[in-house]
């Protein structure tokens, strides 16, 4: 069945991989982000791959006034509405240490911006009695670490938000999948030291769609990150606080 997907942060390579798969299955995709030139290219790509509709829409997590017009466009579409959220920003922790004002932007991009958008979308989904929200969090949200705890805490907040939203939408026939990718081969990780077991974005996208289909609640992708994070979470705090991993 053809459905409609809104993809927030659509220029990221994970989002691109997901939107392509959705397009090839004939769904309608709204590609939301800031770089309109790039989003238009992406929309053309989705159209050529078979999307029933592909449109670039302006979305800025820090500009909530950009949200309502998107929701109006979505409301015009018939059938189930779904959302996939890939937005987020991860400045260097050192830059944040130098300029604590960066905390606000990081949290807006990675948590409160998308949460507010989803909060506005939820009633529409409830009205239509279903649909899926895919929220991309991060393994960094599972435990605060020296290297990126501001980003990590924003993602942790987002995880908790998604868990609550799941609780809510389930009652209306909807579903929420929380996705925690490990290291993915994207522009964000390109050339960063210490990356290992880096997964291609296409693999993450395939995992996401499988999770949507099987109505999984929380997935790690690739799957082995679940074990890695189980270990990391189980390290007692008195020891963990001295580690730099």
């Amino acid at each position: 069945m053809q459905e409609t997907w809104i993809i927030l942060g659509a220029t990221s390579s994970m989002a691109r991989a997901l939107s392509r798969k959705l397009a090839e299955d004939g769904h309608a995709v709204f590609l939301a982000g800031r770089d309109m030139d790039d989003l238009r290219r992406q929309a053309a790509d989705c159209t050529a791959r078979g999307a029933s509709l592909a449109e670039a829409v302006k979305f800025d997590a820090r500009a909530p006034e950009s949200f309502a017009p998107i929701l109006d466009r979505l409301a015009d579409q018939e059938g189930m509405l779904n959302a996939a959220v890939f937005v987020g920003s991860m400045p260097d922790q050192a830059d944040i240490d130098a300029d604590p004002a960066l905390v606000d932007g990081t949290i807006t991009d990675s948590f409160t911006g998308p949460a507010r958008f989803l909060q506005m979308l939820a009633p529409l989904m409830e009205q239509r009695g279903g649909g899926t929200v895919v929220g991309v969090g991060s393994v960094a949200g599972d435990r605060g670490r020296l290297g990126n705890y501001v980003y990590g805490s924003a993602k942790a907040g987002f995880h908790t938000y998604l868990s609550g939203l799941r609780n809510r939408l389930t009652r209306a026939g909807g579903h929420v999948v929380t996705v925690k990718p490990g290291f993915t081969d994207t522009a964000m990780t390109w050339g960063i030291e210490g990356m290992f077991l880096v997964a291609p974005p296409e693999k993450v996208a395939a995992d996401i769609l499988r999770a949507v289909e099987k109505k999984k609640n929380v997935i790690y992708t690739p799957f082995f990150w679940r074990y890695i994070m189980t270990i990391i979470r189980s390290i007692p705090e008195p020891i963990f606080k001295k580690l730099s991993i």
């Binding site: 691109r16 030139d37 790039d38 290219r41 053309a44 791959r49 050339g191 960063i192």
Partner: protein, 433 residues
Amino acid sequence: MRWKSDRYSGWGRALVAEGDLARPERISSLKDLPPTPAIGARRSYGDACLNSDGRAIDMTRLDRIISFDPETGRAEVEAGMPIGELARLFAPRGWIPAVMPGTGFATVGGCIAMDVHGKNHHNAGSFGAHVTAIRMIHAGKAKTVTPKNNPGLFRATLGGLGQTGLILSATLQLAPCPGLSMKVRESRAGDLDEHLALLEASQAPYTVGWLDATARGATLGRGIVEEADHSLDPAPKEGRSKSVPVDAPRFTLSKPVVKAFNARYFARIPESGRTRVRSIADFFFPLDRVQDWNKLYGKRGFHQFQCVLPHSETATLRGMVQTIAESGLASPLAVLKRLGPERAGLMSFPMEGVTLAVDFPNRDKATALIRDLGQRTAAAGGRVYLAKDSLADGDMIRAMYPDHAKWVETARKADPDRQLETDLVRRLNLRSA
């Protein structure tokens, strides 16, 4: 755009570069960038896609379809688009890239910069013959180049090794693709004469010969000729792709193993030949099913020698095949193909005749042999393919490419400070006339 310091190589893994790579995901990342060589999927064997101690832009993430007209089969795609992906996406809608190299991982940018040929070169010409426009950064400006608005630059860019500027996207005229499968006729050729005769006589749109480069004596030059056409039959299901996880030990491709493998590979086909229906990917990109098969050659990597010889030089070809067979160095991957006269670019490889391609492990004996084969090619008025080369000599190459001087002039205007040079271009000193 972040730069990553890396050690990287071409498909043959024999030559390695250390340098900085960026991999943009948006066109806007390329703004205000000083001239920098672009690379694709690094399916060139040697050093065409390397820039030691310098920077290079990996284009593989700029891989979108910008437009597609299902009526005319015209598609504009970004340079990083893999050719096999185009086949996968458009074949169900009746269109396919008019020319495809033997790997679907090659990008459109790489196919233009090498003006690649396919199994249909004798009918369809080279890749560039089906490119109607190239969007590129030329001398600091983004522009669209067509055969009409700038024929000189267009022809210098096809097969131009990236030396005329960075290719952003290209408009391709796809070819009609009536079905989702290929009907493939396989015939045994008992010796070289029969092999060449079968290639010559073939009326099929796609023709290629597998060469048993270990066969000697009366069976010298034997092989299997595949002739194929599009088919409406349902395509057989493709097996899952496999991968080679680690470098293989040296005996994997040793002489007795290759000899035994080739004998069985040949005998698989009944004497009377056979006809099979294969999927498009399986026919055009048979090697892609095994990911990273280049690791089969071990850490030191391998070379491919590919030349084309005019039809009149059958004796030279026979001599080469004989030397290769006697050396016992060849791998099972050896190909004979007929090429037509058409070449779209000034530095394009094809010429009317027969092309021979053979893989060799990277060992001293093999490199000496490849150099010898290069000299014989030169003496016979043939040409060595730069997409495969890592050992040739610059003067020899210049003599083989008749429009080289003209190309140098256009490349100089595009890139006066030679900032686009790659390892191959430097090694062969190609930017000097």
